[in-house]
Assembly symmetry: C2
Homo-oligomer: 339 residues x 2
């Protein structure tokens, strides 16, 4: 009897500028069997693949915090799936697990790279609000910004998987929260559904000065805390609105991920406002994950944190969905449903 097959997507070519569909290649392979597993390995069939901006960085060879994604190998990515065979004592057939199986319908992972899902929330939430994006927001709010009641917090990419949690956590701490997002739908979502105090639609601003003016009206006493996901002119507008002793959690600069230099004009504000800025990658702070995941799950269960998912259907839709993510077409967490 022949093995059944499964599909995966590999990096076919590194992007020059914007990511194209031709940067990816869909491949069909024979399914691994139990016999193929080494000691401590686990065979997982994936339910969902998470698409995240960091993947754009891995597609390039530019020096960064992680080695580049290898050509012709399965694209990196977080997944939630079900164990179908295990040679690791901590996992048994039927367990739902989170791992880094990549853009693939199934795969083999060392048990040490897997963890059991938080079962009190839907499976897919383990890739978003109760997963890496949520913990990223939690780390920035609690460890870097140390948000306090009365602070004015601004977050860019406000409706995204990270930004939406940032704003809600800050509201729970008593902050005034101003989002920045692209388009009326996203702005309405974070105000009406997530309870932000205001949201600036950067697409409505015709000039940098207009963006600054709109933001300075919404954050009318200036910015105490900034959670930056975008960079470029959006970061510049926030820098121009900083209050003295402002704190900045620098989480992402998606505006520059296509390779163009994201020039900043208002860095002098870091000096004149005596600001503190901290760049961070949440996977380097694994010690806070258990506490963060527990707190986030409780807040989701209680309905105190809401989330939205944009779900593409089937592995073959992943490249287009990823390009959409980089262009800001998703609302909330971008996922791919695999089975």
């Amino acid at each position: 009897m022949e093995n059944a097959s499964y599909q995966r997507i590999v990096l076919a070519a590194r992007p020059q500028g914007k990511v194209q569909l031709t940067n990816f290649r869909l491949e069909t392979l024979a399914q691994p069997t139990f016999a193929a597993l080494k000691d401590n390995e686990v065979l997982v069939k994936n339910h969902f693949l998470s698409l995240d901006p960091y993947m754009r960085g891995r597609m390039s060879t530019a020096k960064s915090y992680a080695a580049p994604q290898a050509l012709d190998e399965t694209m990196i990515g977080a997944t939630v799936g079900k164990v179908v065979a295990s040679k690791h004592a901590d996992f048994r057939t039927g367990n739902d697990v989170i791992g880094m199986l990549g853009w693939a319908e199934m795969g083999i992972a060392h048990g040490n790279t897997l963890r059991l899902v938080t079962s009190t929330v839907p499976l897919s939430a383990n890739l978003g609000v109760v997963g890496m994006p949520g913990v990223t927001a939690w780390y920035g709010i609690n460890q870097i910004l140390q948000a306090k009641a009365g602070n004015t917090l601004v977050v860019s990419a406000a409706s995204g998987a990270v930004g939406s949690v940032v704003g809600q956590l800050a509201k729970l701490k008593g902050c005034r929260v101003v989002g920045i997002a692209g388009g009326e739908r996203k702005c309405r979502y974070v105000i009406d559904q997530l309870g932000f105090d205001a949201c600036i639609d950067y697409q409505l601003a015709k000039t940098e000065k207009e963006l600054f003016t709109n933001l300075s009206v919404a954050a009318k006493d200036g910015i105490d805390l900034l959670f930056e996901n975008v960079g470029s002119t959006i970061f510049d507008a926030s820098l121009a609105c900083l209050k003295p002793y402002a704190k900045i959690a620098l989480c992402g600069m998606i505006a520059g991920y296509n390779g163009e230099a994201p020039v900043l004009k208002n860095c002098n504000k870091l000096l004149t406002m005596r600001a503190m800025l901290q760049g961070f990658i949440v996977t380097e702070h694994m010690e806070i994950w258990p506490e963060a995941l527990q707190e986030l799950a409780e807040l989701v269960v209680k309905g105190k944190i809401k989330y939205h998912e944009t779900v593409a259907q089937g592995l073959s839709s992943a490249p287009e969905a990823f390009i959409g993510l980089l262009n800001g077409q998703n609302l909330g967490k971008q996922l791919v449903k695999l089975s």
Copy 2:
């Protein structure tokens, strides 16, 4: 008998772009007398005036950490001088004191704004290495950067009043120290006289890429600690050389002080290197001054910190000397000798 006269320099007009001699006006006034003093005031005849880059900021009305210098008032500035009359219990005639008497041969100050000089070092050193510039260096090295043996530290404006102390303090802590300065004379000075390990002459680099290459060779394992005084392309070159978890003390951005936007291209390194940046103003941290001044004075007395002064003669030379400072023409601390 008529009163004797004294001279002062006032801000005559705010600069548009580069500072010009016509921004200043020399005035002659009648000397104040003991009778003019209110309770707790002190009449001081100044020996030296300190010229510092921060003064450029005060000449503009742009929002910053301090109110702008008023037009037609004595230019702000730190001074060291001798008490000639006192109605304050802590000061008596003949005391040498540090104050903010400004660009003036004499003046009246409230006793609370004065302090006695550190007598173990020359008078003028109280305005430099054992004064505000030295404490600025000390604060950045100890409080922000927390320099440790084996760290590679880069400091821009390396031969200046602040930079020269930064590098020497870092050497005493066992750091590898690379300076950035303009011209062979300054570079030779910090290497041969101050003991820096290397110094990049930014004037020799024809392109930004060449500056980056030169710096990346000198700081060959990357930058752990950056003490930034300049901004613009010089800051950009250092950003490009950051190591993971680099720390940055942002002290000045003199390249932008003439009003042009000092654009930065490499801010993405703050994210990818997970850097921490802290802007600061040393006068907001008065609690560390006593310890810092004592340590700096001891190091100067022991010959472990060296310093150089560029001294202009007479109050009327101050505007030209200040313009020279902004253009990088001085070596070490820029002073004006008044009497």
